[in-house]
């Protein structure tokens, strides 16, 4: 089995390939009958680095002596690839990293061809063999895997027709970062751009990178300084969405950022926005599609959008930050309602009155996300609920867990 993907790794903004080579059935014939490799990867990273995370099953071999990343760029001689050697100890079925040398990368190239080579020593007779990816056949060492390096993208969008701009953010297995404007969403005609941004370059020398724990109150604030944001989370994606002069946003477009397909532990997603790097605000995430590794959000302004990813949510991360809401202030838009965080398709929120009767339910697919606006029935489709104290129960499909609490809705 092999899987590989490329993503931004934390704040390093370099691409990562996660791969796992396993030969469970052919331990005595590792070179004669290789396991089929089907996964592919793409390459991204404005620092022009390819970083690969991989694991190797030694099979019948005692140790892995050396691991190499061989690669060449478009226009270069494939018979004389660059080589980057892993300089640490390679342990059986333990991840190790390989990466290109930054200085090898031609600034003009947008494609890379790469290959992983692992050399083994046999247990009994100390004979040496090699395994390759994309192919495990020793005779196919000339096989390289091609990948595209992400580049900035622009699309001409008109106010009357709208348009979609899609940016290949280095994850070939999943949809790319993009934003769609419907007709009338933008004013004016012109190019709209999405560019990948280096976190380190963007903030280089501007701020300390040590994080400050984010509080619920801070998250709700309309304007945050750099120091008020918890930067200890992983930066899933960081893009600059902007347009030619004269093209303005009248209505928010539907944007989405992708995160690492290998990031199976990601459970919490925040989208930060900044126009200048000095003042930040959290954008309300519209929905999260874990199967596609996509986080949807509204694009209401030109500027920088940062997807923050973290794991290990606690119960309070799902509960509504505000426990009291007044009907008329929901109705007039002063605030949304009871917003339940970090929920995704398949999760359900049920609202009960104190007699234990279910009066409302929130499911995915609501245009409001998981926000209870004080209305009965499914996804706020009914009449206003009465004043009262209500019990909510959040059913997390993936975790198989129920989180409960109380809220007050008054008139």
């Amino acid at each position: 089995m092999f899987t590989s993907v490329f993503v931004f790794a934390d704040s390093s903004t370099i691409a990562v390939l996660t791969s796992y080579v396993e030969f469970p059935k052919f331990r005595e014939a590792i070179f004669e009958k290789p396991t089929e490799v089907t996964a592919v990867g793409n390459v991204s990273g404005i620092e022009k680095l390819l970083k690969i995370e991989t694991q190797i099953d030694f099979g019948m071999y005692k140790t892995a002596e050396k691991a190499e990343l061989l690669y060449y760029f478009d226009g270069e001689d494939s018979s004389n690839p660059h080589s980057s050697v892993y300089d640490g100890e390679i342990q059986n079925k333990k991840s190790f990293y390989l990466s290109t040398n930054k200085e090898d990368f031609p600034a003009s190239s947008s494609h890379i061809n790469y290959q992983i080579k692992v050399t083994f020593k046999k247990e009994n007779d100390d004979s040496i063999g090699s395994a390759y990816w994309p192919t495990q056949l020793t005779t196919s060492s000339d096989t390289f895997h091609p990948a595209t390096i992400s580049t900035s993208t622009s699309t001409y969008i008109t106010g009357s027709e709208g348009g979609t701009i899609t940016y290949d953010d280095g994850n070939q297995e999943y949809p790319d970062t993009g934003v769609t404007f419907e007709a009338g969403d933008v004013n004016g005609n012109g190019n709209v751009y999405i560019e990948e941004v280096s976190f380190e370059d963007f903030f280089a020398g501007l701020f300390p990178v040590s994080g400050i724990a984010r509080s619920a109150a801070l998250k709700a604030a309309s304007s945050l300084t750099y120091g008020e944001i918890d930067w200890s989370k992983r930066v899933g994606n960081f893009v600059w969405i902007h347009a030619d002069d004269g093209v303005s946003i009248e209505h928010p477009g539907a944007g989405h950022l992708s995160y690492a397909s290998s990031d199976t532990t990601a459970t919490k997603f925040d989208v930060l926005f900044t126009s200048n790097g000095a003042s930040f605000k959290y954008i309300t995430v519209t929905s999260i599609d874990k199967s596609q590794k996509l986080v949807h959000f509204p694009v209401a302004e030109w500027g920088y959008y940062i997807l923050m990813v973290s794991s290990n949510l606690d119960d309070n991360d799902y509960r509504p930050e505000k426990r009291v809401r007044v009907k008329s202030r929901i109705a007039n838009g002063t605030y949304e309602g009871f917003k339940f965080g970090n929920l995704e398709e398949g999760d359900v929120v049920k609202i009960f009155n104190l007699n234990g009767k279910k009066i409302a339910e929130l499911t995915a697919g609501s245009s409001n996300g998981f926000v209870w606006k004080g209305k009965k029935d499914t996804n706020n489709s009914g009449d206003w609920a009465e004043s009262g104290t209500y019990v909510y129960q959040i059913k997390l499909k993936e975790k198989g867990k129920i989180i409960s609490g109380t809220i007050a809705f008054v008139w």
Partner: protein, 309 residues
């Protein structure tokens, strides 16, 4: 003349009851004996648990009684801490002057919101007015004046709102107990428009309850002693709810066993009475309610101590 007054009164109840209003105070966790019977108490209660179910029932009381209840709702549901408390007192003055009662009920979630109802009630037997034969039926009526108070702990965004909001309203109730064991009760609650809204009109909804009960010293065939079965049909805001329950007394009427329920919950209850001199008695009641829609709950627990003297 008295009959005409009563007829006008009854008519006014239905006129008021037809008004569509909005409200809180939907919850009825009042009295452990009643809860053990699923809350079907409108045609049953004649004790200190009766005032908030059917004030007319207190006219049947023959002794003073005080009851105090504490509870914890939806235990086992992490993150939910809700308590309901009830105090009731009934004082039967005489057949001629009727009974008076005091009651307080409260449902509270610490740090979030609470609802309190303060209740002053009066009831009287009406057999003399209607010239009814007491050997066939006993008929009573009662009235409650109640003060509703809600307190909400608003956060910073709503700090301009006052936490307390109260209003006055009232109930009327009627109860007929027939000699064949059948009881029929009617209680119309929140008859006066009581606005408890913070920012807009929020009038407590009128609730009309029709209660039916049947009592037999020993149920035929199955021979269950001192058996009561009851049902309440509740009409509120164009919705209809049904509560039903049953009760029997064992061990020479010392031990009560109760069952009941509604669509969202099942109830079971027990009570034990310690008798003292001069017909005084102390009763400890317990009720357990299992919610059927709320998950991960070990149920709601209610316990009360009542003293009759």
């Amino acid at each position: 003349m008295k009959k005409k007054i009563l007829a006008v009164l009854l008519l006014s109840i239905f006129v008021l009851a037809s008004q569509k209003a909005e409200s809180a105070f939907v919850d009825t966790y009042w009295g452990v004996r009643a809860l053990g019977m699923g809350g079907a108490y409108t045609a049953v209660g004649t004790d200190a648990n009766a005032p908030l179910y059917n004030i007319a029932g207190t006219a049947f009381a023959t002794q003073q009684e005080v009851t105090l209840m504490g509870s914890r709702l939806f235990t086992g549901v992490e993150g939910v801490e809700i308590g309901a408390n009830y105090f009731g007192y009934v004082y039967p003055i005489s057949q001629e002057y009727g009974s008076v009662s005091l009651a307080w009920s409260s449902t509270s979630t610490p740090g979030l919101r609470r609802e309190d109802t303060f209740n002053l009630g009066y009831s009287r037997m009406l057999n003399d007015i209607f010239k009814l034969d007491g050997r066939f039926v006993e008929f009573s009526a009662g009235v409650n004046i109640k003060y509703l108070l809600q307190e909400t702990k608003f956060d910073e965004e709503d700090k301009d709102l006052q936490g307390y909001q109260g209003a006055v309203t009232g109930d009327l109730g009627f109860l007929a107990m027939f000699s064949n064991g059948i009881g029929v009760g009617f209680s119309s609650k929140y008859l006066l428009p009581a606005d408890i809204g913070y920012l807009e009109k929020d009038e407590v909804k009128n609730v009309n309850v029709l209660g039916l009960s049947y009592y037999n010293d020993q149920l035929p065939i199955v021979k269950i002693p001192y058996f009561t079965v009851a049902a309440d049909i509740i009409f509120r805001n164009n919705e209809t709810f049904i509560r039903a329950g049953a009760e029997t007394y064992l061990l020479n009427k010392k031990l009560a066993v109760r069952l009941g329920g509604r669509k969202e919950a099942l109830d079971v209850g027990f009570g034990y009475t310690f008798a003292f001199a001069n017909d005084a008695a102390l009763t400890i009641d317990y009720a357990f309610e299992m919610p059927l829609e709320i998950e991960e709950s070990y149920g709601s627990h209610f316990i009360s101590v009542s003293f009759r003297f």
